[in-house]
């Protein structure tokens, strides 16, 4: 039995996730869309906190909200032409978009609902930073040193790629 408080928290988070997501993809102005995205990301971070993953929530805020959205804003500013801020949607596009989204929703919803509908949150201790660190640096079962090293290579490559592309010459 969840506490009322957590339910209220949940409702707020869930609602903001849904609403801001919808807004982020429907907002006419691109900057607003970015802002709504930011809210969505915050709401997600909140969700992580609620689910007892504070470390993840922090990362979410730091990387996503702090890093990526800022990147977006810069990009928007770099690429905005006066006048194309507001875009009008073709109804045809909208229909196809809706079809895809609803199909996805139905399929995913059906799949999820039929498989795991009655599960409630079990109790658990939130992981300490030490465990997190050990897991990240460990080489054993369900420990992630190798992905960590690998992703570093990936990030390096993306940096190189980004530089090459963005470089004017």
């Amino acid at each position: 039995m969840d506490s009322v408080g957590s339910i209220i928290m949940y409702v707020i988070i869930a609602l903001s996730i849904v609403i801001f997501s919808v807004l982020a993809v429907t907002a006419r102005k691109i900057l607003r869309a970015a802002t709504y995205l930011l809210f969505t990301l915050f709401a997600t971070a909140a969700l992580y906190f609620q689910l007892d993953y504070p470390f993840l929530g922090a990362v979410q805020i730091a990387v996503y909200a702090g890093g990526i959205v800022v990147l977006f804003v810069f990009a928007i500013l770099l690429t905005s032409n006066p006048g194309d801020n507001s875009e009008k949607l073709e109804s045809k596009k909208r229909v196809t978009g809706l079809i895809a989204a609803i199909a996805m929703l139905l399929a995913g919803g059906y799949a999820l609902c039929t498989r795991c509908c009655d599960l409630i949150m079990p109790q658990m201790d939130s992981a300490t930073m030490k465990t997190v660190g050990e897991t990240l640096m460990g080489t054993g079962y369900q420990q992630y040193l190798l992905p960590f090293e690998a992703v570093s290579v990936l990030l390096l490559a993306c940096i190189i790629g980004g530089i090459v592309i963005a470089r004017k010459r």
């Binding site: 596009k93 895809a100 996805m104 399929a107």
Partner: protein, 676 residues
């Protein structure tokens, strides 16, 4: 027995063919002609020797004495296999041999073929050059073809088995094709040769299927197994035996799982189909249409192939299988009917033709039909099978006098450079030798005593009379027509009116000796051949028998012939309007006769309109448009599909992901639906 002579009989012409065919152009025409003629002369001598030996040597391989029905001693001619190596094996006992069988009819045929062939070879030396003695182009080739023909025809008559006969049957067809088309630049000759080949090919289809049926049921090809029984004590000698034929019928056909097919016995079917081959070669109605056209070939060729030898192959075939035919008289009745109708038809048509070679061609058809009828009406119980003997006798005499007539016609044509009697008229003074020999030929074919045709035709009519009075009357009428049209021809050529000489220096005259000698020789033969007692040589079962002349029949036919000749003389001896009046009086009949009862037109219609128009062209169209179109359609549809789905690749990323997502969802959904 030493087979060298028999091998040579076949080998010399073949060798001459190869020699003249391959190296002919390096030889001068004169040498080629002499070479060809000499070779044929040698073959003739060998054939005479062989035949003489066969009939008169008394060799136990060739004849034996048996006790006849009435206890008298009868000489029986035997069948002797000179050599018979296997050429091609199929299965079981079914193998084709190329052999040499000597029996009474093959010996007779050897004589006929080599004689006529030699005459024609000799004759052609002069005929195939113009008045200045310049040889025709392709002279060597001509002699090569003649040699090929002689080889094939000899091979045909000495065949030991039906498939060998078929092989040489095809070869004579081909050589006939080559010789008819000798003047290959003339479209008429080309189409005539084509026609001859195709029509006979069609007939051969029947022959082939007949062979297939016969050989399947009996498991053999050899004539010996159909019609003969071995003579005890001699390895390669057989005697004709009706018992063998009836055993074949009883055990192989009647005893098989399917003795009947569509109401007739299978043996009848086989025999009728085989006879179909004979109809084609012997130009029986309705497969006769090629023979008149075949006259486009050089006249000596017509004499050799289309009068004396090849065209009687059909008769020979039936005679060869006669004991089998006797087992199924239905087939023989068909032979009779076809022969009778053809005989009358051809005689009618011959009365109205202008081209002298055409007249002779129809006359040939009619006379061969006589032989066919004669075979058809032959039964052992009728006068010791007189029909068989008469048929062979007529074959023999006809070969001589018809060759004579053709060679005479050749001399005429060579003299006036036209085939039509309208260009001739009154030639008797200019070409006396030709005239007299031609007259002898006409008398012989008309059946005037003592010329050979009288005797043979008389035997045929006797046989017909024994069989059925209707057939007798019918054939007598044909005989009357024969006498009429032959003398019509004779009078129109040699009498009618004075010959108009355009150029006194080139007035028609008798031809050089190579052409006249054969005429005289054949005329002499035609005069005396009738007195041969043919029953001593050829009977249906090989036993010698003396056939007496039936003077009642002879008298009637002689009378009929004389009357016909008189009518012809009345109408055509002097220029008079009677023929035109006659034509005008019976316009329809005249037209039909003149146009040969429109058979050619009918065939034209069938081949061009139906076969070409309704089968070949639609099939070709179907192939190009439907079958090929379908194949092309696979390509077109693929291409169309390619163009029609190009919108998928719209270039817009959003479409891409839309398709991506829907694709993924469909993949999952459909699999899930199928799964549950």
């Amino acid at each position: 027995m030493d087979a060298t002579i028999q091998i040579l009989i076949l080998a010399i012409p073949l060798f001459m063919f190869l020699l003249l065919g391959l190296l002919g152009k390096y030889l001068s025409p004169k040498i080629a002609g002499i070479l060809g003629t000499t070779a044929m002369g040698v073959v003739t001598a060998l054939a005479y020797y062989t035949a003489f030996n066969y009939f008169f040597s008394g060799d136990p391989n060739f004849q034996r004495e048996i006790i006849g029905e009435h206890g008298e001693t009868v000489v029986e001619h035997l069948q002797y296999i000179v050599f018979n190596p296997v050429w091609l094996e199929f299965y079981g006992n079914l193998h084709i041999n190329i052999g040499f069988m000597l029996d009474s009819i093959s010996a007779m045929m050897l004589v006929v073929i080599t004689t006529i062939s030699f005459m024609v070879n000799l004759y052609s030396n002069a005929y195939m050059r113009d008045h200045d003695g310049v040889y025709e182009k392709g002279f060597q080739r001509y002699y090569a073809f003649l040699a090929l023909f002689s080889f094939s025809m000899l091979g045909l008559v000495v065949a030991t088995n039906i498939f060998q006969m078929y092989i040489f049957w095809e070869l004579v067809g081909a050589s006939s094709y080559l010789l008819i088309g000798f003047y290959y630049t003339s479209p008429a000759a080309v189409s005539a040769s084509k026609k001859a080949f195709i029509v006979t090919r069609f007939a051969d289809l029947g022959f082939l299927i007949g062979i297939l049926v016969l050989s399947y049921y009996t498991g053999v090809f050899s004539f010996m197994d159909f019609t003969s029984a071995p003579v005890e004590g001699l390895a390669d000698t057989y005697h004709i035996s009706l018992d063998t034929a009836s055993t074949v019928l009883a055990t192989k056909f009647a005893g098989s799982a399917a003795p009947m097919f569509m109401g007739c016995s299978v043996l009848t079917w086989a025999l009728v189909l085989i006879f179909m081959g004979g109809m084609g070669k012997s130009a029986m109605l309705p497969l006769h249409i090629w023979l008149p056209d075949a006259m486009e070939g050089p006249t000596p060729v017509s004499a050799l192939i289309h009068a004396a030898t090849m065209v009687v192959a059909g008769v020979y075939l039936v005679a060869r299988l006669f004991p089998l035919y006797l087992q199924e008289t239905t087939a023989l009745e068909i032979v009779t009917v076809v022969g009778a109708i053809t005989a009358f038809y051809a005689a009618m048509v011959a009365c109205a033709q202008v081209d002298i070679k055409r007249v002779l061609a129809f006359s040939t058809i009619s006379q061969i039909a006589f032989m066919m009828v004669s075979l058809g009406v032959c039964r052992p119980e009728y006068h010791h099978g007189v029909g068989y003997m008469a048929s062979m006798f007529h074959l023999f005499t006809h070969a001589m006098f018809k060759a004579l007539l053709f060679l005479g016609a050749g001399a005429l044509i060579h003299a006036v450079h036209s085939n039509n009697y309208t260009a001739m008229h009154g030639l008797r003074k200019y070409m006396p030798v030709t005239h007299w020999t031609f007259l002898i030929g006409c008398l012989a074919i008309a059946g005037i005593i003592p010329f050979s045709g009288f005797f043979s035709k008389d035997e045929i009519l006797t046989a017909c009379g024994e069989y059925s009075i209707f057939v007798y009357i019918w054939m007598s009428a044909v005989a009357a027509l024969t006498a009429f049209y032959m003398f019509r021809l004779y009078f129109l050529i040699f009498w009618w009116k004075e010959h108009k000489v355009h150029d006194p220096h080139h007035a028609p005259h008798d031809q050089p000796w190579p052409m006249t000698v054969p005429l005289i020789f054949l005329a002499l033969v035609s005069c005396v051949a009738g007195f041969i007692n043919f029953g001593d040589f050829v009977t249906y079962n090989g036993e010698q028998h003396t056939f007496d002349l039936d003077w009642t029949v002879a008298g009637i036919s002689l009378t009929v012939a004389v009357v016909s000749i008189a009518v012809a003389a009345k109408m055509y001896m002097k220029e008079n309007p009677l023929p035109d009046k006659m034509a005008a009086a019976l316009p329809r009949l005249w037209d039909w006769c003149y146009h040969r009862f429109y058979w050619d037109e009918l065939y034209m219609f069938i081949t061009h309109r139906i076969i070409f128009g309704l089968i070949c062209k639609p099939i070709a169209w179907f192939d190009r448009h439907i079958i090929d179109g379908t194949m092309d359609a696979f390509a077109t549809v693929t291409n169309k599909a390619s163009w029609s789905i190009k919108g998928l690749q719209s270039g817009n990323v959003q479409t891409y992901v839309w398709i991506y997502l829907i694709g993924a969802l469909l993949l999952g959904t459909i699999t899930y639906i199928c799964l549950i």
